[in-house]
Every structure is written in structure tokens, then in C-alpha cells.
């Protein structure tokens, strides 16, 4: 049970809006957003999935990016709360994972085995379209949503949808499709960079991601730009290794 104070809420929304400057990095923005959503309701993990034009759900960003968790997010392209939220356009709230094996035979046991007790999913809505979902996992320590939390998390999800558009006034539906494909491809570049750094520094891919993220932050560079440089310019990879 959480009760979010109005002050805390205002602070988070201002912070999120502040990040939406002209030239922001989408994946980094979505990471901040999932991070804040997690701390807001004391969730174990929060992730954001985008639906591609062929109906697959792709992991875009999360409050945590360990392999087990990313698999849990990704698994939902076949079944699970995110797929339901995308299909129905309605949030899925407070589902007890211990009692959800019949509803999601593959997803629920794996989520429970990863230490989560409850799960929620909020549709990422853009006008009449649902383009993805925000996924919230609760543990025994927190993440059960009170009634008042639901519109708050949905509002954060709606902000994520706005960020995806990047261009403030979109005249044509085509631009959304272009943006979405661009965002999905950026995510692929980050995975490629994780692999390159893991190999060159002898790290796990999880640790490699922390290294890339830290390096981008220290230099105030965009995560996507750093990832791109790592996989296209051997010198950029060497510089990161030395740093």
C-alpha cells in the first residue's frame, strides 16, 4: 500500500518534464521514468515495452536491466499482463502472481520464481492507438497499488507516450511509425554495444551496460550516441576501456 504525497508527485513530474528538452535521448528518458515509477510506489522493478508494427512486444527500458528481468519483460510478447494491457487498452492491476498460473502459465511461475509477488501493466496510449505498456512488479516489500496510485502511474505512462513522439505536433500517422521503428532500432544498438563492451572488458552484459551508462553520464553524452560510437568506431571502444 502506498500513498504518494502531492509534493513528491509534483517533483517527479517537473523532473520528467525537464528531461523532455529539444534534444533528449529517448531510451535514457524512459529509464529515468521507469526508475521514478518504481521508487514512487516502492515496486521491485518497472519496465517499458513497445509494440512493433508486427505485434511483437520489445523491451525498451527498465528501472533494472538484469538478464532475468529483461526475459520476464520480453516473455510477454506471448502472454502476460503487458500483452493484455496492449490488447484491451486497459490497465491490469494488482494481480497476485502466486494465483495467476492458470491465466499466464509460462509468465506467472517465472515471475514468481524471480521473487515478485504482484504485477501490473498500464497501456501506453496515443490517441486511439496502444503502442506498448508499462510493467510494474511488486515484491513483499512493496509495489501493491492503492486505488489512488493507479491514475498516477497511468499519468507517468502517458508522459512516456508523449516522449515517444518527440515532435510536438504530429500531422501524420506515418511520423509515429517512423519514430517507433527508430526507437526500436536504438534499443538494438544498445544491446550490440553491451556485447562489445562485455567482450572487450571481460564483463557480463549486465555490468557492461552499467559501464556504458556511467560513461555516458559522466560525459553528459546521450546513451544512444555512446552506444552507437562503441559499435561503429573501434577508437571509441578503446577510449571507454581506458576511462
Amino acid at each position: 500500500m502506498t500513498t504518494v504525497s502531492p509534493e513528491r508527485l509534483a517533483k517527479i513530474f517537473v523532473e520528467v518534464a525537464d528531461t523532455l528538452v529539444d534534444d533528449f535521448d529517448l531510451i535514457e528518458f524512459l529509464q529515468t521514468l521507469t526508475d521514478r515509477a518504481a521508487s514512487l510506489v516502492g515496486a521491485g522493478a518497472v519496465g517499458l515495452l513497445l509494440a512493433d508494427e508486427r505485434g511483437k512486444l520489445e523491451f525498451m527500458a527498465g528501472s533494472d536491466e538484469n538478464v532475468t528481468l529483461v526475459e520476464l519483460f520480453q516473455l510477454q510478447t506471448d502472454e502476460g499482463p503487458c500483452l493484455e494491457a496492449v490488447r484491451t487498452g486497459r490497465p491490469v492491476i494488482n494481480v497476485d502472481l502466486g494465483a495467476a498460473a492458470a491465466r499466464w502459465p509460462r509468465f506467472a511461475p517465472r515471475a514468481a520464481a524471480a521473487g515478485f509477488q504482484s504485477v501490473h501493466a498500464f497501456p501506453l496510449r496515443l490517441r486511439s492507438q496502444v503502442i506498448g505498456a508499462l510493467n510494474v512488479f511488486g515484491t513483499s516489500l512493496g509495489g501493491h497499488l492503492a486505488e489512488a496510485d493507479v491514475p498516477v502511474i497511468q499519468a507517468l505512462t502517458d508522459v512516456a507516450a508523449i516522449a515517444l513522439l518527440q515532435e510536438r505536433a504530429i500531422r501524420r500517422g506515418e511520423v509515429l511509425s517512423e519514430q517507433l521503428q527508430g526507437a526500436l532500432n536504438s534499443r538494438v544498438v544498445i544491446e550490440q554495444a553491451k556485447g562489445a563492451v562485455a567482450q572487450s572488458m571481460g564483463l557480463t552484459v549486465d555490468d557492461a551496460f552499467a559501464v556504458i551508462r556511467g560513461y555516458a553520464r559522466r560525459h553528459s553524452w546521450k546513451l544512444t550516441d555512446v552506444a552507437h560510437a562503441i559499435v561503429t568506431d573501434p577508437e571509441a571502444l578503446a577510449r571507454l576501456k581506458e576511462s
Binding site: 508494427e53 517512423e178 550490440q192 553491451k194 556485447g195 567482450q199 572487450s200
Partner: protein, 243 residues
């Protein structure tokens, strides 16, 4: 969905089997793309990472002229799709708006004079590995349907795979199924991480790394997702001395 993907894969790989030479194969893919997408034609430009153009192919000579046009004029949907790494979708070239026909002051009038009314350009890429662009041409204005857009993405993906596999097919003379798109058990991110790792292991480009991973999967008759998992877990290593 799965059926469409299988039909398109079959159509493209048959072009690969039918044409031993790359220009013939690319021309065949353009014809297949035009057929699948109810287009009047299609063109493919192979490009290197610095934007230098390699070979160009098109479904017929009229489309070849339109494809060539953008390199003569130095602007066009193909170049924009390559640079932005996103699809460029212009359903009405006659629309003078800056995100439609007005985007290209020289290309638009010249292409319109050649009978072009709508153009849709799709990057041939996997993350940061870019091979070129597929242009879809129509002699009538109007958007791609959601189904056609999804099909176009599939055509682009399968073409990328076929381009990476060219040398394997030339040697084996067959196309074996290695792509399983298995999201649930071996999440796709792992394949891209493996690509980054092999790039560093072999000191090759990202595209070449994917070609090597695919060649290994063919040779060992294994699924790509299994090969990727072994690479990330460091059970499988690509050495420079063992090509």
C-alpha cells in the same frame, strides 16, 4: 502474422536461390517487394556506413531511374532513411509540407515527373549495422495499410538476412531455416549482444559479425537463438585463426 512472414521469407529466399549473382538477386528482391506491397516498383541501394553508395538495383528500368535520381541530386527518401536509421514514409509526394514532398526541393519534382506519387523507404539494418535502403514506389498517392507496413518491415529484415547469407548460400546452394524469432526462451536481445561480442572477438564490422554468427548456425545446423546464448555465456568463441 506468422504466415505472412513465412510467405515473404519464402519469396525473398527464392530470389536468392534463383539468382547466383548479387545484382540479379537484388533485382529479384525488388520485384518481390513490389508484388507483396502492391507497389508499382521498388529499388535497393547498397550503401557503406559513411553513406557511399554501392550497387543499385530496381524492379524495372523506370524505377531504376528514380532510384538513381536521388544520388544525382544528392537528396531523397533513401538517403534520409539511411541517415536517420528510420523508415521515411511519404504517402503523397504532391503534399508540399516539409515532412512530405516539400522535404526534397529537387528530388520531388523530378520523381513526380517520372510518375512517382508515393514513396516509402526502409533502412536495411540491424541496429548500428547498415547495409543500405529499400525504396518502395507507387504511382498512386495513399498510405501503406498497417498490414503492408508490417510486410515491408519483414521484406527489409529478410533482405538483410539474405544479404548477410549470400556467401553461405553460394557455397551450400540451399537456404536452411535458422531464424526462429524465439522471444520467449532466448530473447532476441541476446542475438544482438552476441553480435557485439563477435565483432570484438574477430575485429570485424558489426554486419560481418552477424554474417559469421549466421554462417556458424548454418554450418552446425543450429538455431540462431541457441548459438547466441552460447556466445553470450562464453561457451562459444569466434577466433580469428578459425574463419
Amino acid at each position: 502474422m506468422e504466415d505472412r512472414s513465412a510467405i515473404i521469407t519464402d519469396l525473398i529466399t527464392r530470389q536468392a536461390a534463383a539468382h547466383g549473382d548479387r545484382p540479379g538477386f537484388l533485382r529479384g528482391v525488388c520485384g518481390a517487394a513490389a508484388e507483396v506491397l502492391s507497389a508499382s516498383g521498388a529499388g535497393i541501394s547498397i550503401m557503406t556506413d559513411d553513406g557511399t553508395r554501392g550497387e543499385t538495383a530496381a524492379s524495372d528500368s523506370a524505377c531504376e531511374r528514380i532510384e538513381e535520381l536521388q544520388f544525382i541530386l544528392g537528396e531523397g527518401p533513401c538517403m534520409d532513411a539511411f541517415t536517420s536509421r528510420r523508415p521515411v514514409l511519404v504517402p503523397d509526394l504532391g503534399d508540399p509540407a516539409p515532412d512530405a514532398g516539400g522535404r526534397w526541393p529537387f528530388y520531388t519534382p523530378a520523381a513526380s515527373a517520372g510518375g512517382l506519387r508515393a514513396v516509402f523507404a526502409f533502412p536495411l539494418q540491424i541496429g548500428a549495422a547498415r547495409l543500405g535502403v529499400l525504396d518502395v514506389f507507387r504511382d498512386r498517392p495513399g498510405p501503406l495499410t498497417a498490414g503492408e507496413f508490417a510486410d515491408a518491415l519483414t521484406v527489409a529484415d529478410v533482405t538483410v538476412a539474405a544479404l548477410l547469407d549470400r556467401h553461405v548460400q553460394a557455397r551450400d546452394g540451399l537456404v536452411r531455416e535458422i531464424d526462429d524469432n524465439n522471444y520467449a526462451d532466448g530473447y532476441r536481445a541476446q542475438l544482438f549482444q552476441a553480435q557485439g561480442m563477435v565483432m570484438v572477438q574477430l575485429g570485424v564490422s558489426l554486419a560481418e559479425a552477424m554474417a559469421r554468427i549466421r554462417a556458424h548456425a548454418y554450418a552446425q545446423e543450429r538455431r540462431l537463438s541457441d548459438v547466441a546464448r552460447d556466445i553470450v555465456a562464453r561457451r562459444l568463441h569466434f577466433d580469428t585463426d578459425k574463419p
